[in-house]
Structures are given as structure tokens and as C-alpha cells.
């Protein structure tokens, strides 16, 4: 769970046009008990990638040679909805995915990803649809993501700007550990706690 900084990325992007791809699909529950470490990539999208015998399913996008090892996923709305399992982020990172671009994300996943150096980029639906069409039409297409500039660029003059909260951007760019950051506020936290305990239920 060490936070790796995210600055910029130039990588192959894989299209996932189905809406509501939930965290149960990204990391099936039976793998939640697995410790982090080598081999964690096997669990990512396991039921979409492999059949019951453990063979790769040819119809899954990341099994298709031009998209294999993609560093970016472009997905439809409500990507990573559902369970709070941060292991969905660990699995994506283990697969080499450092950025997901979608019109919307599950709120908990969005927060989890920014704590682990995976950049979630929100673009309008029509921009995402353009990217999905481009990636499906030209498998292996690379996109460039620049967090400082808040841009996604691609072949030709393809360029989009995205918004991100300043607090999340700063933590991603610098790879800051939240706990160390917060412990600097220890005096403020302790003062708050004293006042709060002295007035239970708002009295």
C-alpha cells in the first residue's frame, strides 16, 4: 500500500465500454484474503480473464495482444462501483494499470485509487465515447496523461482537460503519505478532542 507518486504516463490504453464494472469483477471476493506480493496480478479481473480451467478467455480485452499490459483503462460510467475493497486498486496496479479514464467512478474506489498512486480521470461521456471508439478501432493506441497539466492527449490533435480536487492532485503528484501528513496536526486534533469530550452531545 505504499503510495507511489503519479506525475505523467504515456501508455497503451484498453477500452472497457460496459457500464458499472464493479469491484467484485475487478477483484473477486475469494481473493480478498490473499497477501500482497508477487502473483497478485493473477487475481485482477480473474473471472473475466480466465475460464474455470484457468485458460485465458480470448474475448477479454486485456487478453487481446495489442492491449496486453495496457497502462491505462478507458471505461464507461460508474467504473469500480460497489464494494470498498482497496484490493481492487492493488489488483489494477499489479496488472500495470496506473490510470483509469471514465465518465464517473464509484466514490470509494475513486478515493482508494488516489491513496495508492492510481490516477482516476473523469472526462465527459462524449469524450470517453470518442476514446472508446478510437481504441477499439486502432488497438494498441497510446494515450498520454499529464497530471500537473490535467490533460489527456492522443493521436493527432486529440486533447482533453480534466478536473481533479487540489488536495488529491497534490497527494498524487508528491506521493504523500496521509498518516504522516495528519500527525503534523496532532496539537489541533488533541485540542479538538478535549473540547469535544467536554461537551458531549453538543452541550
Amino acid at each position: 500500500m505504499a503510495m507511489q507518486p503519479f506525475t505523467a504516463l504515456d501508455a497503451v490504453a484498453a477500452p472497457m465500454p460496459t457500464p458499472n464494472i464493479d469491484t467484485d469483477q475487478i477483484l473477486p471476493a475469494r481473493f480478498l484474503k490473499k497477501p500482497l506480493g508477487p502473483g497478485y496480478d493473477k487475481y485482477g479481473f480473474a473471472d473475466l480473464r480466465f475460464d474455470a480451467a484457468g485458460n485465458e478467455k480470448p474475448d477479454f480485452v486485456l487478453n487481446n495482444p495489442p492491449y496486453r499490459g495496457a497502462g491505462i483503462i478507458v471505461a464507461a460510467r460508474n467504473f469500480a462501483t460497489g464494494s470498498s475493497r482497496e484490493a481492487a486498486v492493488y489488483a489494477l496496479l499489479a496488472l500495470g494499470v496506473r490510470c483509469v479514464i471514465a465518465p464517473s467512478f464509484g466514490d470509494i474506489f475513486y478515493s482508494n485509487s488516489t491513496k495508492n498512486g492510481l490516477l482516476p480521470v473523469i472526462l465527459p461521456e462524449e469524450a470517453v465515447n470518442r476514446l472508446l471508439a478510437l481504441l477499439a478501432g486502432k488497438p494498441g493506441t497510446k494515450l498520454a496523461v499529464d497530471l500537473a497539466a490535467q490533460t489527456v492527449t492522443g493521436p493527432g490533435d486529440l486533447a482533453f482537460r480534466f478536473e481533479i480536487d487540489a488536495s488529491r492532485k497534490m497527494r498524487l503528484l508528491e506521493g504523500l503519505d496521509d498518516i504522516q501528513l495528519t500527525l503534523k496536526y496532532r496539537p489541533e486534533i488533541e485540542a479538538f478532542e478535549r473540547a469535544y469530550a467536554a461537551a458531549p452531545f453538543g452541550a
Binding site: 470498498s84 484490493a87 453538543g202
Partner: protein, 466 residues
């Protein structure tokens, strides 16, 4: 006079320690619930050389990995290890935990309120997306990931960017056989599984106010299925009556003081929401999901939809994929689809009232497919036994199981077989949620009971009470 504020704004303001330089807020956490899935967070804490800062404000509850058979036998050594590991982590950090054998063992979102540890106006977090359940009491409660759990353990605080505010008003009277589960499924079906993204939801309106606490918990529980980390309902006399006398609830003069404070929490007249949506309660019917997202739900009187009639290309493809996975054909009547199993359980629908509703349908009938009941907590199980509900279920051929998350998420090994179809009182009909290849139809407890005794998805209103 100060500007009118929402319930959310009042609770947020009371917990804001400071605003960070980049606009997010550092909030104080009143209560953190931990379960066996918390090992990544405890590992992170250990790695950083830190202790739990306020072990008195974290409560441990065994639910995700615990077996639900009578002997509590772990399905595998690896699952057993997860249970042992949790025990070690809480013991090492001095955290009180409720394990199998304790009357307060159960599902965290059932046990917290039952103990009176969940209170109005509290800020509550847990490494579980269904933490919004506690918002039914007017708490601000949301699910968090392992990094945030580690942060809460180390600091008793959490950084949050303030969400926008969405009010969903459900007005009018619910018809017979229509429950809180049907209300929330109808909300999600109507407005979409992403309607609440980036928002905190307040559920309001006469139909919500008319719900019991159990019903309100069912509604808030599934706020996450509407896309929101948190759902809230204004505390009122129903809330206070439910909490009074609970083990950890305030007592005596402190109780009076607490109630006075809680009465100040509901949203003020004229307070502003970023979005307002509403739904007519009187038009609702018992609901059932037909696809693999909770938004893919319809009244039981309806038919499986045709992807060709989907509103856009993305939904057309998604619906076709869902129907293929679910093994359903467009135009089939939902009422009458044969099921292989029935599961009554989970943090959504396994409280005493849910078991009573299911038992009322089961009484005097026989289950014609394998059916399980796993109570939301051991206390609920004991109460149900005291009321004789267990005998109604077992006489009908149901398995009366111990308490845990069980077949809602299958982490403990309670799974459907590939291709099996279930009617479940749970919260997620995701692909593979109840096991690889498993097909889940989300329904209310009464509808699940109806499916068990007929072997089919069935409009419970057609079954007269015995």
C-alpha cells in the same frame, strides 16, 4: 439567525477539526467498526510503527469470514487463518471485539446499532461500503478503503472532500406487500446506480418517515448501490424510541441531553440541496432485479426488458450482456421465473422485522427449493428463536444458520454453484457476487419467502397469509 442547514452540514460541521491547505477537511471519527477484512490496514499500521490511537473508539466484529454452520467450521484453513489473524490484530491493539459465541456477534451494520454504539449525529466509518446503513439514525456514516482504515486507526480522523448534497423524497403511502427494500430498489431503478456519485444522499418524505428503524436501515444500506457513500435520514421519535435503553446508548441525564441535541439535527426549512429528486410511494410494487446491476430492477408484475428498447447504445449492450449472464430472454414474465435457491440474510435484510415478514409468508407452507436464513446478528437469532420464528422456518424445510455476511458476499465459502439462480434479500446482483457464474435476483424478505415456497419469483401479494 444562522442560515438554514441540512442534516449533513450540521454533522459535518461538528466534526471538522480543520480545513487543509487544499480545501479538504480533517474530520473527527466518533466510531470505527472493524471486521476480519481489515488486515491490510493493521499491516500498514505495524509497518509504520504506529499503535491504534483510540482503541476505545474502534469496535471489532466478526462477520465477513465467519462460518454460518452450527459448528462454525471454517470452509478452508485459509479462511480460518483470516479469523485468527483478526483476533490477533484486535488483541494486540486492545480493541474490544465480538466473536462467535458472543450474543453480539453478527454483521457489523446490524450489531453497531443494536449495541447503541451507532447514534444520531455521530461520524461513523468502516472498511465496508454498506456503512451508510448507520445513516438511518442521522449519523454521517460511510465506507472507506484500507488506506483510510489505517489512517483512522492511527489518528482517529479522516480527510474528506465535501460531497454535494442530494435529497431523495419518497412521498405517499406504500401499498400492501411493498417494503423498504422495494423503495430503495425502485429509487435505484428509476434514477440509476450512479445517481448519487459525488453526493451525500438524504432520504426524506412521508414514506421514509413512516418506516421503522429496520426499514430505514435497509434504505440507507443501499445508498452505495445508488452510487453514494452515504445516505441519511433525519432522527425523530422513532429513532429515539428504538435506541432508548440499548447497552451503549447514553443513560439518565445524558440521554435527555443527547435527545435534545439530536432534535436539533434534522434539515432546517429552506436549507439548500444541490439536487432534489422525488418518487411516488403509492405507485410502487414489490421489486425484483433481472440483471447484474441493482439499477436493472423492475416491479414483479413486469417482464424482462428487450435490449433493443434500451435508451442508448451503452445500455443496449449492457442489458444484452446481463440477460446472457442471467440466462433470461426478453419478454419473459418476471413472475414465474424458476429459482434454485433462496437466501434470507445480509446487512440489508436480516433484522428481526425482516425475519418476521419472511416467516409470515412461510408459515404453514413448505420450501420447494433449498433455502437459508442467516440472521443479521446472534441477538436477532436469539430473539427470533424466542418468538418461535426459527420453528416456522425449520418446519418449512429452511436451514436456520448462524449469523454472518454469508452468501451475500461468499467470502466465508457460502456460495451458489455456477449457473444457480437465487432469490436473495442481499444488496448486490453483480456478476459472480454469490460465486462464479451465480445468478442473483434481489428481493425483499417477503418476496424471498414467496420464492422459497413456490420455487419461482412470485408476487408475494398473491399469497394469502396462512
Amino acid at each position: 439567525m444562522s442560515a438554514p442547514r441540512t442534516l449533513f452540514e450540521k454533522v459535518w460541521a461538528r466534526h471538522e477539526i480543520l480545513k487543509g491547505p487544499d480545501g479538504d477537511s480533517l474530520l473527527f471519527v466518533d466510531r470505527h467498526y472493524a471486521h476480519e477484512g481489515s488486515f491490510h490496514a493493521f499491516n500498514a499500521l505495524r509497518k509504520a510503527g504506529l499503535k491504534v490511537r483510540r482503541p476505545d473508539l474502534t469496535t471489532g466484529i466478526y462477520d465477513h469470514y465467519v462460518p454460518t454452520d452450527a459448528a462454525r467450521t471454517p470452509a478452508s484453513a485459509e479462511i480460518g487463518d483470516m479469523i485468527t489473524l483478526f483476533g490477533r490484530n484486535v488483541a494486540e491493539q486492545g480493541i474490544r471485539a465480538y466473536a462467535p459465541g458472543d450474543p453480539h456477534q453478527g454483521i457489523v451494520h446490524v450489531v453497531g446499532p443494536e449495541l447503541g454504539e451507532t447514534l444520531p449525529g455521530f461520524l461513523i466509518v468502516c472498511g465496508d461500503s454498506h456503512t451508510a446503513t448507520h445513516g438511518a439514525f442521522g449519523a454521517l456514516a460511510f465506507g472507506i478503503g484500507a488506506s483510510e482504515v489505517a489512517h483512522v486507526l492511527a489518528t482517529q480522523t479522516i480527510w474528506q472532500v465535501r460531497p454535494r448534497l442530494l435529497r431523495i423524497s419518497v412521498e405517499g403511502r406504500l401499498g400492501a406487500g411493498v417494503t423498504a427494500k422495494d423503495v430503495i430498489l425502485a429509487v435505484i431503478a428509476r434514477f440509476g446506480a450512479n445517481v448519487g456519485l459525488g453526493h451525500a444522499i438524504e432520504f426524506a418524505g412521508s414514506a421514509i418517515r413512516g418506516l421503522t428503524m429496520e426499514g430505514r436501515m435497509t434504505v440507507c444500506n443501499m445508498a452505495i448501490e445508488a452510487g453514494s457513500r452515504t445516505g441519511q435520514i433525519a432522527p425523530d421519535d422513532t429513532t429515539f424510541a428504538w435506541l432508548a435503553g440499548r447497552e451503549k446508548a447514553p443513560k439518565g441525564a445524558l440521554w435527555d441531553k443527547a435527545v435534545a441535541h439530536w432534535r436539533s439535527l434534522p434539515t432546517d426549512e429552506g436549507a439548500r440541496f444541490d439536487r432534489d429528486l422525488s418518487l411516488d410511494a403509492s405507485a410502487l410494487a414489490p421489486m425484483v432485479t433481472w440483471g447484474t446491476s441493482p439499477e436493472e430492477a423492475l416491479p414483479i408484475t413486469d417482464r424482462v426488458p428487450d435490449p433493443a428498447a434500451a435508451p442508448d447504445a451503452a445500455r443496449k449492450a449492457a442489458w444484452a450482456k446481463s440477460l446472457d449472464y442471467m440466462g433470461l430472454k426478453p419478454g419473459m414474465a418476471l413472475d414465474g421465473i424458476a429459482v434454485d435457491r433462496v437466501f434470507i440474510g445480509s446487512c440489508t435484510n436480516a433484522r428481526i422485522e425482516d425475519l418476521r415478514a419472511a416467516a409470515a409468508v412461510v408459515k404453514g407452507r413448505k420450501a420447494v427449493v433449498p433455502a437459508w436464513v442467516s440472521s443479521g446478528s446472534t441477538a436477532v437469532k436469539l430473539q427470533a428463536e424466542a418468538e418461535g420464528l426459527d420453528r416456522i422456518f425449520t418446519a418449512a424445510g429452511f436451514e436456520w444458520r448462524e449469523s454472518g455476511c454469508s452468501m451475500c458476499v461468499g467470502i466465508n465459502g457460502d456460495l451458489l454453484k455456477p449457473g444457480e439462480r437465487s432469490a436473495s434479500t442481499t444488496n448486490r446482483n453483480f456478476v459472480g457476487r454469490q460465486g462464479p457464474g451465480a445468478r442473483t435476483h434481489l428481493v425483499s424478505p417477503a418476496m424471498a419467502a414467496a420464492a422459497a415456497v413456490t420455487g419461482r419469483l412470485t408476487d408475494v401479494r398473491k399469497l394469502a397469509a396462512n
